[in-house]
Symmetry: C2
Subunit: 114 residues, 2 copies
């Protein structure tokens, strides 16, 4: 059996994460993604880190692993989060310029924590 590119590239058996086409993300999805305080903490943490620096387990948020996975999925769907697997780790990047181009000013506002 030929390994899939995903399996060949890393040790993970997880499906590769799906990413949103930002042109297709509705404003509603973006607003709801940023309305949650845990997700804003994740976004703020990523904004203060280098791209791909943060693994999924490295966020200081008071939720279970399953809930955290759901938050990551919502952030991906909103076009805020890019993820890639590197061996056993899933690494994260905030899609800051892409999101800013689609929803000017919104991420700044969310990061300002009013």
């Amino acid at each position: 059996m030929t390994p899939t590119p995903e399996r060949a590239a890393g040790a993970s058996h997880r499906a590769a994460p799906l990413h949103a086409d930002l042109d297709q993300v509705p404003l509603e999805t973006a607003l709801l993604a940023l309305a949650d305080p845990v997700r804003r903490t994740i976004v703020r943490t990523l904004a203060n880190a280098a791209d791909w620096e943060r693994a999924c387990g490295s966020f200081d948020v008071p939720v279970t692993k399953a809930t955290l996975s759901r938050h990551f999925a919502i952030l991906r769907e909103a076009g805020l989060l890019e993820q890639r697997d590197a061996g056993p780790k899933r690494l994260n990047r905030l899609r800051r310029p892409e999101f800013e181009a689609r929803f000017p000013g919104l991420l700044e506002l969310a990061l300002s924590d009013r």
Copy 2:
């Protein structure tokens, strides 16, 4: 019995609407208020009308009167809507400059309808 100022001023027996202190409105409340398409339609309608021009019954939205009242309450709580009674009518004003000062750019984004 002395009439309350509300009853003295108008014909309405309704309680006067309560308005948010915008300095106290959390970002979350603002984002959730604007995440709903019916509320964005109300906001857009008000943005295209003069202050106090629109009565509560004049919005073209496919919801019951009770649901519409709830939408108005959520918009008031988010600091987006000011209401006052004038005889049998309740008139509306978008708190555009106040909201803009608190959440710069957010209302523009909501009005752009991405």
